[in-house]
Symmetry: C2
Subunit: 274 residues, 2 copies
DNA sequence: GTTGACTCTCCCGTCCGGGGAGACCTCAAC
DNA sequence: GTTGAGGTCTCCCCGGACGGGAGAGTCAAC
């Protein structure tokens, strides 16, 4: 059983680099069968080709070295399965990340590489009577909350026999970001003087006035640059924010792909800059 | 225009970390509008929020910092488009890599985490008469070459009115790996004494003898561990390789998913070990 | 003047090795 | 015994894009 193999030959056999073998030795992942105490030369056995191949395979699927060590150390198959499953979850989430990035980049290329294609304009918004529903939501729940909220408002309008009188929108009474929740109001314009039955959906009037506005094209999740462009514009132009911002949904996610969604973002301001 | 902003506030505005801003400064990617020469304090302008957001977006899709610098430096839109397209290709290849790894891991989990599920057996293979076609191929072309090769052999058999007499296989006369090409012979067993018309597909007999054998289950691209297990087994058992290895295709890629493909790998050996 | 928040530079760590320097070793040929 | 070729050792630096922290200096409000 003295089939000792120098590191170079073993590297060729296992298709691992010498550097990698030394590193795995240092990490306690694949220790040479014998190390000459005088020279420090590492010698491996043929029987170590199996573990070496396992390491190669697991590294090829990008499992961290420390986890490979743990996985090889205990030979409980159940535990092994758990570790592999954990790694699968990691790979899956990385895969969806990659997909998200690629989709985003493709949209970016579609619009000519224009990273922030936002033009800010000022307009006078008119006061608008709406059927409104106020909800409380955090960043994780906001999407579903708005969706359900519109369902509720549409339902209330239907029950009252009222026709919508304009594009639906949402008023953000609080800043909702990664770390804070707040109130949003789901609004659908209705004819002035409409009466609604008692309930959470209530008739009132959203005040008008000057607003800074821009239009975002694309999925809702990527709207945040639009907000930043507007707030930056407001600061640069010496205006002051003057009330809750709103998002007006210019087309319908049911009939249009996410890439084509148009959303107008409006910030009420105190005056019209020169 | 002295709207100078300290790094902390600018970091919150742009949602970039202070560390990142300092790094981008150092890399020439986003230089502060003014740096106090006495204290070294960095001060930014509101107008820099735009470039900062662009950087944030491009980093979010994992574009390298150096390329973002280049991309922001020249403002030729055509060049920008090219850079983005190049990055798209990178993201795409990473995506397919991730997919490959995930698929591989899922198959690995399916077979119970058994990384090298190969059992090597020794058997006496019988001499087999075949219709054979020899091709020359490299690692990149081997898959397509074998596929077309089988098409050619099947065609020749059909034209000659001969029925296949066993599972098709391939003999590897040379080692084909990342850096070397070689000859492979595409074989379909036929009844002894078959005569074939002149052409590249020729009748002859593959010799029998003792072989070390194992069965690979899964896509052809992942067969290499099977080879390593066999060659390792041969060395460990003191046998000697004695002729060209063969791959026998036990089922049909047309009727079975890649996960279920069964391929027997046989290495002729000189003698049957004890 | 004091305090507390802010900012600076510098260094180390991440993860998995690759590249190279300079010294040492092994094996075979002569 | 000697020589030479090639194999191997340890040690150090490098990448990418920052994060963490130390120790020192600064700013703004009271």
């Amino acid at each position: 059983m003295d089939d000792l193999i120098g590191i170079g030959r073993f590297a060729r056999m296992s298709r691992l680099s010498i550097k990698a073998l030394r590193f795995y030795d240092e990490q306690g992942l694949l220790t040479p069968a014998w190390v000459d105490p005088a020279t420090g030369y590492r010698y491996y056995r043929r029987a170590q080709a199996g573990p070496a191949e396992a390491i190669r395979v697991l590294r090829a699927i990008d499992m961290p070295v420390g986890e490979i060590r743990d996985l090889l150390a205990d030979d409980d198959p159940g535990l092994t399965g758990k570790r592999l499953a954990a790694h699968r979850e990691r790979l899956r989430s990385r895969l969806t990340e990659q997909e998200r990035m690629l989709r985003f980049l493709e949209r970016l290329i579609d619009r000519g590489g224009n990273i922030m294609p936002y033009e800010v304009t000022v307009k006078q918004s008119l006061a608008v009577p709406v059927a409104g529903l106020t909800l409380h939501a955090g960043p994780a729940t906001i999407g579903a909350a708005i969706h359900q909220g519109f369902g509720a408002v549409v339902g209330a309008l239907g029950a009252a026999g009222v026709q919508p009188a304009g594009a639906p929108f949402v008023v953000y009474h609080d800043i909702i970001d990664e770390k804070s929740e707040g109130d949003v109001e789901i609004c659908i314009p209705v004819p002035a003087g409409t009466t609604l039955p008692d309930g959470p959906v209530r008739y009132h009037e959203i005040p008008g006035g000057p607003v800074a506005s821009t239009v975002h094209r694309g999925p809702y999740q990527e709207i945040s640059p639009a907000y930043h462009v507007i707030t930056g514009w407001i600061e640069e132009n010496g205006a002051k924010s003057h009330g809750a911002p709103r998002e007006i949904y210019l087309n319908d996610p049911q009939t249009v792909t996410p890439d084509e969604l148009l959303t107008e973002v409006q910030f009420p301001i105190d005056r019209t800059p020169a």
